[in-house]
Symmetry: C2
Subunit: 335 residues, 2 copies
DNA sequence: CGGCACAATGTAACCGGTTTCATGAAACCG
DNA sequence: CGGTTTCATGAAACCGGTTACATTGTGCCG
């Protein structure tokens, strides 16, 4: 692998000129430019990114902060893959690489610095944060250090930090309106962890739409889960004694768990109980009779995250308000 | 952020000594070592990885080659996320970062060099390849260039290249044996793309077990799909006229599609047709009556890939034979 | 006590780029 | 035609580490 010096020598020019050919081609004469480019292709010259990063402090890498340590409540969710693929594709299109950061252990495995240190050591240009609402101090350290951040489904604010989210409140309204339209009166809901932003928003939207329609949502008609299937099953068991005719589960996984509880109780969907979920993960379409749900635009989220980080890297200020993507009602057999 | 020079100055030692404190601590006297470490903690010194990479040509980064470009048949599969999480966790535990490589576009978007160039520019130590059996020439370029490679479900050989796979043939046998045990005689199968290694192995194992049991698998009882749901549906439609009593679908997604076709034909599962899948993705447990399937150890695959690449980075030769992980029969309602 | 091995440290070259500043030649101006 | 811009390029410092080699000060040996 030839270096810039080697290439410069073969072209009979200085390294500065070669460097210019690749970085500011407009200021080098067409003749030399051609010559250098041809020779570069011939010898297979590739600029060394480490050297470039060292000199410029820009790495063309976006960090992904996603703590998959099994001791921590790292977020695993079936739709993350869709987001990740979209994110990676959109970044690739800009020539940016996505670095899945290993937490830095030099200050201890639980250090508040574990992400920040990794980011700084690698001169990562910005980060995308996938977290489950746990407000990990190590994530906050990034915000405090003013690393350009884009958080998914997490409300962070700071001069260099913005977030991307679905219109959770609007989705909650969509769900409520749909159940109202279907003529339901005894309506219950299974929410996510109450202290997480998406869960709170979905519930707020849902409740607001019910209120506007002149109904109220009793506390006893609210059960909460942890997004995952088993918690939906358990929550539904708690709700069954209230004999609702319709349930809004704030996540599809929980909805599927709830459906199981409903079946086990000998009730039919949607005849005895209608159910609507949120997310539109793959199983929603597959589990009979098909789960009506509020779809999130997963690809849109990934793409928006990429756009947001790219904009910040180009110098735009971080939008103070979250970028909100529309949700859509997908009607299937469960309502 | 302080540099090594700064730290050396404050400690009253040379940069070489500081460097040794972090790289070969055993050859520096305990006194200075302590002093340097204390001072490093005090000023928040972090070694710059780009500089280190530049000097050593080791980056502590493993590349992930996974072409998600929508124009290409990049592999998307529900279980990839599990593999990815396991891979990332296992690498993180070794202090290695996972770099999702953006294809290098400097030689054109379809260049055979697009991954290799990215790998070389970033001095990536090794790569993990996720591909769908398409034998992309750009992937082969990595093998040819003798980059340390670990391929998932892809049979590559080379002095620096090994692969990780489930025991697909064994899994195929498991499926056949299970159907035989259940007393089925009219058995059909839906395979993956015939030119892919996992599909071929699963079919081979399946057929072998049938043969050993004194049965044959007629060509007309074999339909192939592309792993995804719709193709399973279509394949099953083709098989229905053969009125099989049991079907082995070489992937769960296709199995779910097949189940749909079976239902639409007014047949019951498992009473009229039993079906067994492969993979054990999340939906398998959720789609009624529960899909019996041959489970792959997704976490094991990710972990094994990490171990394999780590071993190669430490100097071990690439195992010529693939690392094969056991599969397991998961019995549910569909058989 | 001279010579030697060894442990601890320093000096300086090097990794491969970017960028500031200087330089020389050509173009432009009155 | 002399002086000033402008353009293309080169020289050299710099980014922040690693490491081969040189240097120094011990302790040990015969």
């Amino acid at each position: 692998m030839s270096s810039i010096k080697e290439l410069a020598r073969r072209c009979g020019v200085s390294v500065a000129t070669v460097s210019r050919v690749f970085n500011t081609p407009e200021i080098v004469s067409p003749g030399t430019r051609r010559h250098v480019l041809d020779m570069a292709a011939e010898v297979g010259y590739l600029p060394n990114e480490s050297a470039r990063t060292l000199a410029t402090k820009k790495s063309n890498m976006v960090g992904l902060v996603w703590d998959t340590d099994h001791r921590r409540p790292g977020w695993r969710h079936p739709f993350l893959q869709d987001i990740l693929v979209a994110l990676k594709s959109a970044l690739s299109a800009q020539g940016l690489h996505l670095l899945m950061l290993a937490p830095d252990r030099s200050a201890g495995p639980d250090s508040r610095q574990r992400f920040l240190r990794a980011v700084q050591r690698h001169s990562v240009d910005g980060v995308v944060i996938i977290d489950n609402g746990s407000r990990d101090p190590a994530v906050l350290a990034l915000v405090d250090a003013e690393v350009p951040c884009v958080a998914l489904d997490l409300r962070f604010t700071g001069p260099t930090c913005t977030s991307i989210t679905s219109d959770n409140a609007g989705g909650g309204r969509l769900a409520a309106q749909h159940l109202i339209d279907r003529g339901h009166h005894r309506i219950a809901t299974i929410t996510g962890p109450p202290d997480t932003w998406p869960a709170a928003e979905r519930l707020a939207g849902f409740r607001a739409a019910l209120t506007e329609a002149g109904r109220t949502l009793a506390d006893a008609d609210i059960a909460s889960g942890d997004w995952y299937l088993d918690s939906g099953y358990a929550a539904m068991k708690r709700l069954l004694p209230r004999s609702p005719t319709a349930v809004f589960a704030a996540g599809d996984e929980m909805a599927v768990g709830a459906m199981r509880a409903i079946h086990e109780a000998g009730l039919r969907i949607p005849a005895d109980i209608a159910i609507i979920g949120f997310d539109d993960i793959e199983v929603a379409a597959l589990v009979p009779p098909g789960l009506t749900t509020v779809a999130q635009d997963k690809t849109g989220i990934g793409t928006a995250a990429a756009e947001a980080i790219v904009a910040m890297l180009l110098g735009s200020p971080a939008p103070a308000e979250p970028t909100t993507l529309p949700t859509a009602l997908i009607t299937r057999g469960s309502t």
